[in-house]
Symmetry: C4
């Protein structure tokens, strides 16, 4: 299958999944709302919305970076991609779980349980990404549109995110679920601003020349590592 | 109508329908969640999510395989496609029905009824697919972008899925609804890994040469059967 | 603005709106479901789902037919299109209203009210379509990718749908809301199978030659009237 | 990253977000509906639907205008865009809040609070737009597909919307929340009909020649200011 079709379907799934997050906010809206209900009681909902929005946003960016390396996709790629999307679509569920159980007055057992489920889903998605990446790197002669320069470095980078999620989940299980959520948020912000290689190569190597006026189809180079 | 537009609309519908499945998980999230509620009570929700996700994912793949054969679509194709999408969009409903009625403590009549409805919808979608396929194969001179090599074998393969769904529905009606759901899951996994021909021809015949560096528009050959 | 972008956004809105219809089915799924609840009590939900699905499906087809005539879209076109989409997105609301009030045991006043609201929304959407069509026909020198052959006949055809919706709404208000829903369903089926001109011209004039093997960008001729 | 992919994902998010608005209407549909419930009690829901639909519709148009200037997008653009989309997706939440608290019989404190939250979200989105615009204007040598003629005038125009939202929010906080909602509606209508520059340059300068029969990729000139 050509990459464009798989990308287009995946993009649609990401776009809907990220928008479903707002459904966790809608129940806050009630007749005769009070300031306390809106701010003090509902803050975990807003925090969950922001963290999950950034997380899915970065997953989309990662997904694009990966797909941009490929000229076509084969059956195995599509199977791994389906499991990856199954994880991404599920994100609003632990987000709701966390938001419902991190408000004041919740037992710490419930908060812990919610944060662990959140972490486990992120771990599962990370594993699917790593699997997709490793499969693609190992089959780049068949699938790749261009030579992937530094598969090892990129693999390490993907694994770093996975390790961060594992650390956060352990903190949720044995330490504080609030600290765990801060860790998950920090990972999202870190990847947002700093580390994901742009396929057009702005982050390393000579930048791709942006030819004014052209509607370039050039997807850029490989992740610079 | 050109195929691209019909594909693009259908892709959007598939992407939203597959994401709607998460709405069956959201009610599990409650204030003060307990481990038992999250795992023992809710497992049919997770199982339903996974089976239906894989099933819709494969339907999308099937849909793409079919559409990739066509240079354009006519009125009849669009009508059949509309009924097909009407079935795909409905999948989250019997999924919810099954998940609500397969938990422990449900009467077997309700579980049976839910699994039968699930099976009947899958049968209806299969019939729409077979109809679409037979119409397209019969009109390939007008619609086809390329000669379909083995319409008979492909028709048999589509029918095999239909027979599997009929068998599962009969098991649900007269045997165990749990076994029926396992059959539906097995059909999804089977098609995911093994049997659907890739339009780029990886599964049979000489593979299409993946020319590195090109953003190929080549959709591949016909299903190899 | 180029037509492609406006089409792509509109397609997305149509795809989500048509999928939202399933949310009217989800509440039927309950723990311990009985056959009577699933069939006798819920049939108006299924009927509403089918009628509204076909109606939105045809609206999408109509929308594509119209847009395929245009080389670009101007500000007024986009404004009318926004109001049109505002109507299409709202369709699940009167669908829910009708489904909740056509079951046995509902007072006829409620059923009547629901069917009238359903009809009024379809009328509003039809007026937006007619407005869009008349504006486009009047400005085809500026907007049109090709000469529109028979704007008068096409205008009459669009108006016929509008008249049908007005008739159905009057029947809902002063006669039977059930008959009104049958009329709305009949209009959908009629347009689905018989009357909407295909932009590739299959319905009239010489058919566009489907060149096997090409991925044609050809959008076909104008509506043949 | 090429602009097309970022646009396509953003378009999907806008399309879903605008459609989510209908979920605020669905609870109005009840068994045994009465005219008063449907009209007198529910009018704030309809008003909220219309105002937010137009507002998101214009935001999409603005977004397209901005993106059409760019040949490619860099990391900072994507980060600002993610925050922008985070605001757009959230719009259905304050819409529900306003609709639930502007009906007759609500305390003015709740109505005020709801309208202030609505205004604050619009302000946040406006700031994200202004930020995106200023970043793009400052980096047009790297990102721009064409020379942006009048960044200053365009910046002023974007800021005018922001000022309007600030004014509306102040009115909501210290005056009437109803008047505030009228102001937000008026801003949407004003931008819809009058002020946003069309990328194809219809609003100023020589109009782009619409070449009949071609499927032009031409995105038009810069905003005329």
């Amino acid at each position: 299958m050509e990459t464009r079709r798989a990308e287009s379907f995946s993009d649609g799934v990401f776009a809907v999944a990220i928008t479903v997050l707002v459904f966790n906010l809608l129940p806050i809206a009630r007749h005769g709302i009070k300031f306390d209900e809106l701010v003090r009681d509902a803050w975990p909902q807003y925090a969950g919305y922001v963290v999950s929005f950034l997380t899915i946003g970065i997953m989309w960016l990662n997904h694009h970076t990966l797909m941009a390396q490929l000229a076509k996709v084969d059956r195995i790629t599509l199977v791994i991609n389906t499991f990856l999307l199954m994880g991404v679509v599920a994100v609003p569920f632990p987000t709701a779980l966390v938001a419902d159980n991190l408000a004041h007055g919740t037992k710490v057992e419930s908060a812990r349980l919610a944060a662990v489920v959140y972490g486990l889903l992120l771990i599962a998605i990370s594993i699917a990404y790593s699997g997709l990446w490793m499969y693609v790197a190992a089959n780049q002669d068949t699938l790749g549109a261009r030579k992937i320069r530094t598969p090892l470095e990129a693999t390490i980078r993907f694994s770093a995110g996975l390790l961060g999620y594992v650390a956060g989940t352990l903190v949720a299980a044995f330490g504080s679920p609030y600290v765990a959520m801060v860790i998950f948020a920090a990972i999202a912000v870190y990847y947002l601003f700093d580390h994901l290689p742009d396929p057009t190569g702005e982050d390393g190597g000579p930048p791709a020349a942006g030819v004014p006026g052209s509607t370039s189809d050039y997807d850029g180079g490989p992740p610079a590592g």
